[in-house]
C-alpha cells in the first residue's frame, strides 16, 4: 500500500484517465456545461441584492419619503435564487450520473478481468488487494473528476466571475479587496502539504492501535491460557498513547496555521471597508457594492478550504488509476486458440484418454515445480498421486483443466493437444473437486447446479444422491434451499465435501479430478467419502490426490511424486513389493514408528 503515496500524475496516465470519459462524451459535455453554468449562477443572488441595496440607498439618500417600487428588485433576488438552485439540482444529477456511469464501467471491466485472469495471477494477488482496487481505487478515480476537475472549474469560474464583476463595479476597489487572496491561498495550500505526512503518521499509529486490538481478540484464548492480559494491556495503552501524542502533534501544527491563514483572509473585510467607505463617500460606489464584495469573498474563502486537499486528491487518483489500469492491462494467461476445437471423443466411448508427454512446469520460470512428467491414463482408469507436501501433486492435476499451461512438453486428451481444445469445453469436461471445497453464499441447490445453472431439480437430486449427500440435505430445515457458504449455515467438512462432489458430478464430466479433500475430516467421514468417490468415478477417467495410503490402495495406477518428478509408479502391490518411497510411506502410516516405542510402557 505504501507505493500509493508515491504515484505522480504523469501526462500519459492523465490522458488515459480522461479517455475513460470518452465513451461518455455527450454526458461529460452536458455535465461540464451545467457545472460551469451553476458556478456562474452562484454569482447572481448576491449581485441582485447589491442592485436592490444600491437602489434603496440612492432613493433614500436623495430624500425620497414614500415607499418606492421594490417588487422588481425583490423578484430579481428570488428569481436569481431559484435559477441558482435549479442549476444546482441539474448539476447534482448530471455529475452523479456521469461519475456512476464511468465508475460502473470500470468496475465491470475489473470484474470481467479478474474472472478471466489465470490462477497464476490470482496466486500473486490477495483478495483484499483486488477488492481495494475495485472499491477504493475506482472511487478515488471518480473523486479526481468530481472533485479536482469540477471543483477547480467551479473555483476558477466563480473567482473569475467575482473578479470581473468587482472590476466592473470599481477597479481599484476590486484590487484592494482581493489583495489578501493570493497570500491566503498560498499559505493554505502550503500548510496542507506540509501537514500531510504528519496526518499520515498519525493515522498509521492509529492503525497500530486497531491491529493490537484485532490480534488481542483473535488470540483471546491463547492470551488467557498463557495469562498474558496485563502485558497486553500495557502494549495496547502504549500504542493508544502514542497515537494521541502523534495526533496532537499534527493538531498543534495544523490549528495554528489554519487559523493564521484564515486571519490573513479575514483582512479582506476591514481593508475593503476602508476603501469602500472612501469610494462610497466620493459617490463612485454604493453600499450594495461593499456588501457584494463581502459576500463574494466569503464564498471564495469557502471554496478555498478545499484546495488543501487538491494535492492529495490528485495523487490518490493517479495511484488509484494506475492500480486499476494494472488489472485491466494484465494479459489473460490462458485463452482458447483461434480455431480451437470441441472436446474430442474418447476412443473407448467412456472417460478420456489422458497422456502427459514430458511435461514440465514452474510458477516462476527459474523454479521448476514439475519436471519431465510422462504417463498415460487409459479411459476409465483411476490414477492416484501421492507424495510429500510440496512434491507437486496439486500442480500436476491443475494442468489438466488448463488452470496453468505446461512450460515444456504436452498434454493430450483423446490424442488432441489440450491447447487446441476450447478452454470452456475442456473445463466443462473436467469435474474438479478442490481441496478447500469452496461453496458460494447461496442455496445448496444453486451450489450443486453451479456448473449447469439451468439444471432441473431431478438432476440436482440425482447428483446429490450419487455424492451421498441427499440424505443429510433432506434432514436440514430448508432442504436443498438451505443457504450455505460464508453467510449461510456452517456445514461440516464432510457435508461440504459431498456438495462439492455433487457439483462436479452434475457436469457429468469425462474426467474427474479430486485434490486431497479428506485431510480435514475424521476417519469415518473419510471412509464414506472414499466409497462415494469410488461410486461416482465409474465410467470416467479419474485423478485422485491423497495423503493416506488407505485412500489410494485401490487405484489402477499410482504415481509417487518426489520433488516434481515421478519417483515410482505402479499398482499398490507392485509399489509395496518394490520397497521404495511408497513402501516407506506405507510403513510410517501403518506400523509403529520407532520413535514411539519409548513411550510404550507409559
Amino acid at each position: 500500500m505504501s507505493e500509493r503515496a508515491k504515484a505522480k500524475v504523469s501526462p500519459k496516465l492523465f490522458r488515459r484517465l480522461l479517455a475513460e470519459y470518452g465513451s461518455e462524451r455527450f454526458f461529460t459535455v452536458v455535465a461540464t456545461v451545467i457545472a460551469l453554468a451553476t458556478s456562474f449562477a452562484g454569482l447572481l443572488p448576491a449581485f441582485f441584492l447589491r442592485n436592490a441595496v444600491n437602489y434603496l440607498q440612492d432613493l433614500f439618500s436623495a430624500g425620497q419619503q414614500a415607499p418606492p417600487v421594490i417588487w422588481p428588485f425583490a423578484a430579481a433576488v428570488l428569481l436569481a435564487a431559484a435559477i441558482q438552485n435549479l442549476f444546482y439540482y441539474a448539476q447534482t444529477r448530471t455529475r452523479t450520473e456521469l461519475s456512476v456511469r464511468v465508475t460502473n464501467k470500470l468496475r465491470e471491466r475489473i470484474y470481467a478481468a479478474v474472472q478471466r485472469h489465470s490462477l497464476t495471477y490470482h496466486k500473486k494477488t490477495t483478495t483484499g488487494d483486488l477488492i481495494a482496487r475495485s472499491t477504493r481505487d475506482v472511487r478515488s478515480v471518480a473523486r479526481f473528476v468530481s472533485f479536482a476537475v469540477f471543483s477547480t472549474a467551479d473555483l476558477v469560474v466563480f473567482l473569475g466571475g467575482a473578479i470581473i464583476i468587482l472590476l466592473w463595479v470599481d477597479p481599484v476597489f476590486a484590487l484592494v479587496a482581493l489583495s489578501p487572496v493570493p497570500l491566503a491561498t498560498y499559505l493554505t495550500a502550503r500548510f496542507g502539504t506540509r501537514s500531510r505526512p504528519m496526518w499520515k503518521d498519525a493515522s498509521k499509529s492509529y492503525g497500530e492501535v486497531t491491529a493490537a486490538l484485532q490480534e488481542n481478540i483473535a488470540g483471546a484464548r491463547v492470551i488467557r491460557a498463557f495469562g498474558q492480559d496485563q502485558a497486553q494491556n500495557r502494549e495496547f495503552a502504549g500504542r493508544a498513547d502514542n497515537y494521541v501524542s502523534k495526533m496532537m502533534r499534527v493538531v498543534e501544527f495544523w490549528v495554528v496555521r489554519v487559523v493564521g491563514s484564515n486571519l490573513i483572509f479575514s483582512t479582506v473585510m476591514p481593508v475593503s471597508l476602508v476603501y469602500g467607505a472612501y469610494a462610497a463617500i466620493q459617490g463612485s460606489i454604493g453600499i450594495g457594492d461593499i456588501m457584494l464584495c463581502f459576500a463574494y469573498m466569503r464564498n471564495v474563502q469557502q471554496r478555498l478550504r478545499h484546495i488543501v486537499h487538491y494535492v492529495e486528491v490528485f495523487q490518490s487518483a493517479a495511484a488509484g488509476a494506475e492500480r486499476v489500469f494494472e488489472i485491466l492491462d494484465e494479459e489473460p494467461g490462458i485463452q482458447s486458440r483461434p480455431g480451437a476445437t470441441a472436446m474430442p471423443p474418447s476412443p473407448e466411448g467412456i472417460g478420456a484418454l489422458v497422456e502427459f508427454k514430458g511435461v514440465s512446469f514452474g510458477y516462476e520460470p527459474e523454479k521448476p515445480v514439475l519436471g519431465d512428467i510422462t504417463f498415460t491414463a487409459q479411459p476409465g482408469q483411476t490414477i492416484a498421486i501421492v507424495g510429500h507436501t510440496g512434491s507437486g501433486k496439486s500442480t500436476l492435476i491443475s494442468l489438466i483443466p488448463r488452470f496453468y499451461d505446461a512450460t515444456a512438453g504436452a498434454i493430450l486428451i483423446n490424442g488432441v493437444d489440450l491447447r487446441d481444445i476450447s478452454v470452456r469445453e475442456l473445463r466443462r469436461s473436467v469435474g474438479f473437486i478442490f481441496q478447500d471445497t469452496f461453496l458460494f453464499s447461496t442455496s445448496i441447490r444453486e451450489n450443486i447446479a453451479y456448473g449447469r445453472p439451468g439444471a432441473d431439480f431431478e438432476a440436482i437430486q440425482a447428483a446429490a444422491q450419487a455424492a451421498r449427500g441427499h440424505d443429510f440435505i433432506m434432514k436440514l430445515e430448508h432442504g436443498y434451499d438451505t443457504a450455505v457458504g460464508e453467510r449461510g449455515m456452517t456445514l461440516s467438512g464432510g457435508q461440504a465435501q459431498r456438495i462439492a462432489i455433487a457439483r462436479a458430478v452434475l457436469l457429468d464430466p469425462k474426467i474427474l479430478v479430486m485434490d486431497d479433500a479428506t485431510a480435514s475430516v475424521d476417519s469415518e467421514t473419510e471412509r464414506q467419502i472414499r466409497q462415494t468417490m469410488q461410486q461416482v468415478s465409474k465410467g470416467r477417467t479419474n485423478f485422485v490426490i491423497a495423503h493416506r495410503i488407505s485412500s489410494v490402495a485401490h487405484a489402477d495406477h499410482i504415481l509417487v511424486l518426489e520433488d516434481g518428478r515421478i519417483a515410482e509408479e505402479g499398482t499398490h502391490f507392485e509399489l509395496i513389493a518394490r520397497g521404495g518411497v511408497y513402501r516407506r510411506m506405507y510403513s510410517q502410516q501403518f506400523e509403529d514408528g520407532p520413535q514411539l516405542q519409548e513411550n510404550d510402557d507409559a
Partner: protein, 593 residues
C-alpha cells in the same frame, strides 16, 4: 461489510440519560477544559455577531454622513475583532482536540482492559468484527456526541440569542421577519435527512452487495473457472451495478432537491428583507445600514440551524454507538472468582471430573454437550480423548482451565475445587496448545517467549533444542527472527505447530492441554511433531484431543467420547481387546474397513 454490520452502523437511538451517566466519568477529568471551550464559543459568537453591526455603524454613522475617518476607525475595530477571534479559535480548537482525543483514548483503554476480563463464551458469541467495531468505530462516534454536539448546540443557541437581541434593537418587525422563516430552513434540512438517510443507506447496501459478490468470486475464482461460470457471474454483477446506479441517483435527487430547498429559503429571506426595507426605511423603522447587516445576520442564524438539522441524524447514530459502547463496558465476565477465592498452590496434576454436566447455552431444553462425565487423571498421566467430531472432546478440555463452567458437577485439581480458587492462578499453570496454532505479530522468538516474557534468547533456543524444533525454526527465512505473521504463509502448518509446542514448553505449565490439528502435514513433519509432542508431555498431566489414532496409542488412558459421554476407557491394548467402538475406529483407520 455484510448488510447487518451496515445496519448497525446506521442504527439510530435517542440518547438516554443512563448512557450519558456511564460515559460522563470519562469526560470528568477534562470538564474544566470543556467548560472553557464552551465559554470561548459563546464569546466567539458574541464577537462574530459584532461584524455586521460594525458595518451598520460604518454605513449609518459615517459613510452616509460623509465621515471617512470614522469608517477607518470601524475598520480598525473589525481587524482587531478578527485577531481576537483567531486567537480564541486557536486556543479553543487545541483544547477541544486535546479533550476529545484524551477522552476517547481513555475510553478505548478502558474497553480494552475490560475485554481482557471477559470469559471465552463472550468471544464465541460475539463476532470479532463486532467487538473491534465497538472499540474502533463506535468510540470514534462518541466524540461527536460528547464534543461536537455540545459545541454546536452552544453555538446555535448563542447565535440565536445574540442575533435576535441585536435585530430587536434595530426593529422588532425585522426580527420577527427573520425568525419567521427560520423554521422553513429547519424543515428543509429535516426533510433532507429524513429522505436522504434511507437513500444513502441503500447506496451503501448495494455497494456492499457488489463488494461481497466480488470477494466471493475472487476467493472462489478457481471454482468459477473450473465450472465456466464467468459470463453468468458477470451478468449478475451487472445487475448489482445497475441497482447501485439507481440507488445512487435517488440519493442524488434527494440531495439535489433538499439542499437547494434550504438555499432558496435564504433567498426568500433576503428578498423579504429588501421588500420590507422599502417600506420600513421611509417610516423610520429601519436604517439603510441595517439592511446589509440583517442580510449578514440571516446567514449567521440559518447556517447553524441547517447544520443541526443535517447533523441530527449523525447524532442519533452516535447515540446508538454510545449505547453499544456502554453495553460492552457493562458486559460482565460470566466466570468470576468467588469471594474469598485463593490462589491454587503449585499444581501436582491430579485432575478429577465428578458427574460433570455442561452445555454452552443456558436453555433448559437444549441437550447436554457433556452428560455425567466422571474420571480421574493422576499426575503425569497422558489422557487421550477420541471420538467423532462434535462428540464433546474439546468441551471437556475447555472446562479444565475454566474457560467455561459446567452447570452441574465438580472438577478438582489436586483436590481443590477449581471454582473455589482464583481463575488466574489456575490458568497460569495450565498450558493450552490449540488446533488453530495462533501466532502473534512479532518474531518467532517473541512468540516463543509469549507465556514467559522474562525468558532469555538462550533459554528459548535451549527449549527448542530440547523439543527438537530448533532445526525447523532455524530453517525459516530469518530463523528465530522470522516475522511470524507475514503474509504469504512463510510458516507452514507443521512448523507453526512446532513453534506453538515450544511456546508451551517454555511456559512450563503443570497441566497441558493439546487440541490436535487435523490439517494435512506430510509424514516427515508428522514424525517431528509426534516426537515433540511426547517430549512436551513428559512429567505433566496432559490431555490430548486426538483426531488421529496414531497419536493416542501410547497414552496412559484413552477415553472414547460419544454424544457427550465417556463410552469406553482404558489403554490402547485394553480397548482393542474390548473390541467395541475404539477397535472399530482403529480398524477403519488402518484402512482394512
Amino acid at each position: 461489510m455484510p448488510d447487518q454490520d451496515l445496519e448497525e452502523h446506521f442504527a439510530r437511538a435517542h440518547p438516554s440519560l443512563s448512557t450519558f451517566r456511564r460515559i460522563f466519568p470519562f469526560v470528568r477529568p477534562y470538564w474544566r477544559q470543556l467548560v472553557i471551550c464552551m465559554v470561548i464559543e459563546v464569546a466567539f459568537v458574541g464577537l462574530w455577531a459584532l461584524d455586521p453591526h460594525f458595518i451598520k455603524i460604518a454605513v449609518d454613522e459615517f459613510i452616509l454622513q460623509g465621515v471617512f475617518k470614522g469608517a477607518v476607525y470601524v475598520a480598525g475595530l473589525m481587524a482587531l475583532n478578527s485577531v481576537l477571534r483567531a486567537a480564541m479559535s486557536a486556543v479553543q480548537q487545541l483544547s477541544l482536540w486535546r479533550t476529545g482525543e484524551n477522552t476517547l483514548n481513555d475510553v478505548r483503554k478502558h474497553l480494552f482492559a475490560h475485554i481482557q476480563h471477559l470469559s471465552m463464551n463472550f468471544f464465541d458469541r460475539e463476532k470479532q468484527g463486532h467487538i473491534i467495531a465497538r472499540v474502533d468505530r463506535d468510540v470514534e462516534f462518541l466524540g461527536q456526541l460528547i464534543i461536537e454536539a455540545p459545541i454546536l448546540i452552544v453555538h446555535t443557541l448563542s447565535s440565536m440569542v445574540v442575533v435576535g437581541f441585536i435585530l430587536i434593537t434595530y426593529d422588532w418587525r425585522l426580527c420577527v421577519l427573520v425568525a419567521a422563516l427560520a423554521p422553513a430552513v429547519g424543515a428543509a434540512a429535516w426533510a433532507s435527512s429524513k429522505w436522504g438517510l434511507p437513500a444513502y443507506r441503500s447506496v451503501r447496501r448495494s455497494m456492499s452487495r457488489m463488494t461481497a459478490n466480488l470477494v466471493e468470486n475472487v476467493s472462489g475464482v478457481h471454482v468459477v473457472q473450473a465450472f465456466g461460470r464467468e459470463e453468468q457471474n458477470l451478468s449478475t454483477y451487472q445487475t448489482l451495478l445497475s441497482e447501485y446506479k439507481a440507488n445512487t441517483m435517488v440519493g442524488a435527487m434527494v440531495r439535489g432537491i433538499t439542499f437547494p430547498g434550504m438555499m432558496f429559503v435564504f433567498g426568500l429571506a433576503n428578498a423579504a428583507v429588501i421588500a420590507y426595507a422599502a417600506y420600513g426605511v421611509p417610516r423610520g423603522y429601519v436604517t439603510i445600514g441595517e439592511i446589509p447587516a440583517t442580510i449578514m445576520y440571516i446567514g449567521m442564524i440559518y447556517g447553524p440551524i441547517m447544520m443541526i438539522a443535517q447533523m441530527y441524524d449523525q447524532f442519533l447514530a452516535a447515540s446508538a454507538a454510545a449505547e453499544r459502547v456502554v453495553q460492552l463496558m457493562d458486559s460482565k465476565p460470566s466466570i468470576t472468582d468467588k469471594p474469598g477465592a485463593r490462589d491454587i498452590p503449585t499444581i501436582k496434576g491430579h485432575i478429577a471430573f465428578e458427574h460433570v454436566h455442561f452445555k454452552y447455552d443456558s436453555d433448559p431444553h437444549s441437550p447436554w454437550i457433556l452428560e455425567d462425565v466422571s474420571f480421574d487423571a493422576k499426575p503425569g498421566d497422558i489422557v487421550a480423548l477420541v471420538g467423532p467430531t462434535g462428540s464433546g472432546k474439546s468441551s471437556i478440555v475447555n472446562l479444565i482451565p475454566r474457560f467455561y463452567e459446567p452447570q452441574r458437577g465438580r472438577i478438582t485439581v489436586d483436590g481443590h475445587d477449581i471454582y473455589q480458587v482464583k481463575q488466574k492462578s489456575l490458568q497460569d499453570q495450565i498450558g493450552v496448545v490449540l488446533q488453530e496454532n495462533f501466532l502473534f505479530t512479532g518474531t518467532v522468538m517473541d512468540n516463543l517467549k509469549f507465556g514467559r516474557p522474562e525468558t532469555t534468547d538462550e533459554e528459548a533456543v535451549a527449549a527448542a533444542k530440547a523439543l527438537g524444533s530448533h532445526h525447523t525454526i532455524e530453517r525459516l527465512a530469518q530463523g528465530y527472527q522470522t516475522d511470524a505473521r507475514e503474509r504469504g504463509a512463510a510458516i507452514s502448518h507443521g512448523e507453526r505447530q512446532l513453534i506453538c509446542f515450544t511456546r508451551a514448553l517454555i511456559a512450563d505449565p503443570r497441566i497441558l492441554i493439546l487440541d490436535e490439528a487435523t490439517s494435512s502435514v506430510d509424514t516427515d513433519t508428522e514424525i517431528a511433531i509426534q516426537r515433540a509432542l511426547w517430549k512436551l508431555m513428559e512429567g505433566r498431566t496432559a490431555f490430548v484431543v486426538a483426531h488421529r489414532l496414531s497419536t493416542v496409542r501410547h497414552a496412559s488412558k484413552i477415553f472414547v467420547i460419544q454424544d457427550g459421554k465417556i463410552v469406553e476407557s482404558g489403554t490402547h491394548h485394553q480397548l482393542l481387546a474390548l473390541n467395541r467402538s475404539y477397535a472399530g475406529m482403529f480398524e477403519e483407520f488402518m484402512g482394512h474397513g
